[in-house]
Symmetry: C2
Subunit: 205 residues, 2 copies
């Protein structure tokens, strides 16, 4: 498999999952600053011009929640999701869906306002609102969603890798992680996990 | 099961799926205009104050992509997703994820700008941009993603019910559906499907 990523993006969640699974893959680092994602060679892989993209022998997969559960199914021995319990798996999917459709989107208004408005003043208004919107998302995760010791409870799942990825944006989003003790502790534990260290080492080598 | 929805929202995708499955459920219509979703009784069901929410005997499920695949797994005889093929299932999830995290989000900037900025001028700038952003999403679906005759190709899946739901917002978003012939034809076919008719009849009774 070939895995296309940009350091510092949500692709890290899939990257950690590949490492956790012990998957045989080649990482391909893209450069957003040079707009590599808009070049024809990459648009042929992902016409959405986004990362992550995972090229498998069957074809290309995009979108973090899809890649995460696919890898769980391909590497069941890594035990990264409750695959045999449809209700518990749906809880995993619900959490991942919240991260992609609400939390990541709130965060993206800091630097990608051009996706939703033309006016620079509107971009500035969006940027100013990010600490509030991202802060509210994480308050809900801390108070209502996080079961402990892992996101889903007893077992570490792909939700933990995805949450770790998004938590890594809090400082730049001006959300004080010390107000979120469960999430702060989770972030520190994940930082020490070998798969996380390997993925980060590759991204920032 | 109890299914909480608001007419005209993305909950319609789950509503159609419940009907297609022949599920035994009770629909509960919520009223956003009266802010019912922010009352303590509903926050106890879904602290995110959103629909859809599906109350099962095991607990509550939220987020459209999670509910859709859960229902596919609970009602395999309805044949609403390629459950036995992890790669094809990942393609289903990828499409659903694109709809929730990009297409629905683009649309939401028309009426829900308060989620991402305080400034009324910014809300206006967001609203003005919706035809462009939603239009670009649907152009990509029409040109790159839609396999035909159904979203995923040969078989009708939950992706079709979700796409139908989001396509229903195009007129209000000022995107001309006649420029999207595959999607227009798909919308017309789905409108005639008995499960779609039943879900719509309940929502707008």
């Amino acid at each position: 498999m070939k895995f296309y990523y940009v350091p510092g993006t949500c692709a890290l969640a899939s990257h950690i999952t590949l490492e956790e699974a012990g998957a045989d893959y080649t990482g391909v680092r893209m450069n957003f600053a040079e707009e590599e994602q808009k070049k024809p060679e990459f648009l042929a892989i992902n016409p959405k011009a986004r990362v992550p993209a995972l090229v498998t022998e069957r074809g290309v997969l995009t979108e973090t929640p899809a890649i995460l559960v696919y890898l769980c199914q391909q590497y069941p021995e890594a035990n990264m999701a409750p695959l045999d319990d449809p209700f518990e798996l749906a809880r995993v999917q619900s959490f991942n869906s919240y991260l992609c459709s609400t939390v990541h989107v709130a965060h993206a208004h800091r630097g990608r306002g051009h996706r939703w408005a033309d006016d620079p003043a509107a971009h500035e208004a969006m940027r100013a609102f990010v600490p509030k919107s991202v802060g509210e998302c994480f308050r809900l995760i801390e108070d209502e969603m996080f079961e402990g010791p892992w996101v889903m409870g007893r077992d570490c799942t792909v939700c933990d890798f995805y949450l770790f990825t998004v938590t890594g944006w809090l400082e730049a989003d001006s959300v004080d992680i010390t107000t979120l003790p469960k999430i702060q502790n989770h972030y520190e534990r994940l930082s020490q996990r070998p798969s996380v260290k390997r993925a980060l080492a590759q991204e920032f080598a």
